[in-house]
């Protein structure tokens, strides 16, 4: 039983981070219908930005308030990065076929990884630690920092829900995701909304970077496989949930996180990723548009 609860808690802990990153993929996809492969690198940059800020302000052991400050700084830095990427790389391609934007995204991704590596070096970096404490609840060892990270991730996700479904900006985003041209005719500033989508998605990635760093206490160089894998899994989570759908991304993230833990815990650690991807394929065959996605009939 303790094992079961451990897997469940760890699944939620890992899954909520997947979900946070998945939101960035799904938001961009909802509006521009392309996979923003550079998102996982913005996420990596978020971790490195917050590490730089922590070093600069001597916050290697931040209090919760200071950590919140780091979170805001990292989100702001990533938001700016996202904005620049959108302006410089994606906006010139607004009329181009989607696959070309995708290739550009891969280009941006390679650039961020390797430029980041030139700036911050090629080895693992020790991240600030908030607390090393862990509590034991019903036989489950829970590290306090993970609870904090899960809490922060959920708070951010709820904030995004509010933004998208309760504000005027959110209404604009939803309108643009339905149809650019008509939204434009209705007076929605389409270009600004698209930029804003990148800003928000990147800010969430920045927050994710900080939370991952805090949870694991170290971050690897920007081109390390760990970031790409995180990004890939988050993207898979977005697809499982139904890409373009915000609650779907969160659900997909949590599902993937928990499924991974249970497969590794009860079935096989060697074939965990193979089984996870096989499950994904099965889910997609049963529900071709993801769990919460709508099956849009193609118009002639």
């Amino acid at each position: 039983m303790a094992d079961f609860l451990t897997f469940l808690f760890k699944g939620i802990s890992v899954g909520s981070l997947y979900a946070l990153i998945a939101l960035g993929y799904t938001m961009v996809y909802g509006i521009l219908q392309f996979i923003n492969f550079a998102h996982s690198d913005v996420f990596a940059l978020g971790a490195f930005f917050s590490w730089r800020f922590a070093v600069a302000y001597h916050l290697m052991h931040p209090t919760p308030i200071q950590a919140a400050g780091l979170l805001l700084l990292s989100m702001a830095a990533c938001a700016l990065t996202g904005l620049l990427i959108e302006w410089l790389a994606y906006r010139p391609l607004r009329q181009a076929p989607r696959l070309n934007v995708l290739i550009t995204a891969i280009g941006v991704s390679l650039f961020l990884e390797n430029a980041g590596q030139l700036v911050w070096g090629k080895s693992v970096v020790q991240f600030p630690t908030m607390t090393e404490h862990s509590i034991v609840l019903g036989g489950v060892h829970i590290r306090l920092v993970e609870v904090v990270a899960v809490g922060a991730a959920f708070a951010l996700m709820l904030g995004l829900q509010w933004l998208v479904y309760r504000t005027k900006i959110g209404r604009g985003m939803r309108a643009v995701s339905v149809d650019h041209n008509i939204a434009g005719l209705m007076g929605v500033p389409v270009d600004q909304i698209i930029s804003l989508t990148f800003v928000i998605g990147s800010a969430l990635a920045g927050a994710g970077g900080l939370l991952v760093g805090l949870t694991y206490g170290q971050i690897k160089q920007p081109a390390d496989a760990s970031w790409i894998i995180y990004g890939l899994k988050a993207f898979v989570a977005a697809v499982i949930g139904g890409i373009g759908n915000l609650p779907g991304a969160m659900l997909g993230g949590l599902l993937l996180g928990i499924a991974e833990q249970f497969v590794a815990g009860y079935v096989s650690t060697t074939f965990r990723d193979a089984i996870a991807f096989a499950l994904l394929i099965v889910i997609l065959l049963v529900r071709p548009s993801g769990i919460l996605g709508k099956n849009v009939v193609e118009k002639v």
Partner: protein, 352 residues
């Protein structure tokens, strides 16, 4: 299906047989004129393999408009499939695992290439099936997942058997010893430029003849408008799966060549065929222009040379590469050639 328009025999010879013979001659000339083990040979080899990869992926992504990002998975299957034939098959035939520079040795290599292609084609059929239900990025994720599954499974295989260990393992079980993360560690370098470019010539001819045929038009119709294609009687399902199978077969051949290159010691290695390899192929297709065979070819050549030229800038290599990629995409949003072929550029401006 509309019946295939009858083609007079002389025209068929002119269109297929003559270029094939000329191409094979050219491959032989390369084989004989470029010194083995030279730098030029290695680069020409890389170019050849990348051209096959790009042109074959172009059949799925460019011609049929399906979105596959798991092409490296097929290449992996081809590589492992063929090296199993030359290593374990070679042991069964010759009693050792050395390179046999005899007719039978090279026949074995030829058989291994075809076997690798067939293994990959079978997988292509399996992966093509979901495309009946899935479209666009969902299909992309399935192909990507497929590639990753192959990688994870290959990593978990036990080390390659030494000849001295063969006796302890029954025949069919041997082929499961694929070397794990280290890769297939005792491969022999059967390949040479003649083999590579013979395969390139066949690939280019098949791609070109396929596109110009009735079937090719059907592929294009699936890309342009699936519902309209269905309405005029094109069996879209069949064509989508067929595109996957053909592309996978040639990716498998490319894998076989790759597995037997100089330094074949560990060329077939799970990590070699990760999704970045798939992306490289997608980049070549898009950069060349969707559906353009010469475009994919030129892009494959250009990117291979580019990575080589950039080797001298060391740490800045991938930074420079990625910046160039972004700039080219922004300046040529439809790829180098769009959907046209290289010779369209030299015609009078009667084309759109």
């Amino acid at each position: 299906m509309t019946p295939r328009p009858s083609v007079s025999t002389p025209r068929a010879i002119g269109a297929s047989l003559l270029p094939l013979l000329l191409g094979l001659c050219a491959a032989m000339i390369l084989e004989l004129s470029i010194p083995q083990g030279s730098y030029v040979e290695k680069i020409l080899f890389d170019i050849g393999v990348n051209v096959i990869l790009a042109v074959s992926l172009n059949i799925v992504n460019g011609l049929t408009g399906q979105f596959s990002i798991g092409h490296a998975g097929f290449m992996a299957l081809g590589a492992y499939g063929s090296i199993v034939v030359t290593y374990y098959g070679g042991y069964a035939i010759f009693g050792d695992v050395l390179k046999h520079t005899t007719l039978s040795g090279y026949s074995l290599y030829f058989v291994s290439l075809i076997a690798g292609g067939l293994v990959a084609a079978a997988a292509g059929w399996v992966v093509g099936l979901p495309s009946l239900r899935l479209r666009g990025d969902y299909l992309a994720i399935v192909t990507l997942g497929f590639g990753e599954i192959i990688r994870v499974v290959l990593q978990a295989t036990p080390p390659v058997l030494y000849p001295s260990e063969m006796a302890a393992v029954p025949g069919w079980e041997r082929v499961l010893h694929l070397g794990g993360a280290l890769g297939f560690s005792h491969g022999q370098s059967y390949n040479s430029l003649g083999w590579t470019y013979a395969a390139v010539v066949v690939m280019l001819l098949v791609a070109y003849r396929l596109r110009e045929s009735t079937h090719g038009r059907a592929f294009l119709s699936v890309r342009e408008n699936e519902i309209a294609a269905e309405a005029i009687g094109v069996n879209t399902t069949r064509y989508k799966v067929a595109a996957f199978v053909i592309a996978a077969f040639f990716a498998g051949i490319a894998g076989g060549l790759f597995a037997h290159q100089l330094g074949a010691g560990t060329a077939s290695r799970p990590e070699e065929f990760n999704f970045m390899k798939s992306f490289e192929a997608v980049i070549m297709v898009v950069l060349g222009g969707m559906g353009s065979i010469t475009g994919a070819t030129v892009a494959a050549i250009a990117l291979t040379l580019l990575t080589e030229i950039l080797r001298s800038v060391q740490d800045y290599r991938l930074v420079a590469y990625s910046l160039l990629l972004i700039v080219v995409m922004i300046l040529r949003p439809k790829g180098l050639f769009g959907t046209r072929e290289i010779w369209d550029f030299f015609r009078k401006k009667d084309q759109p």
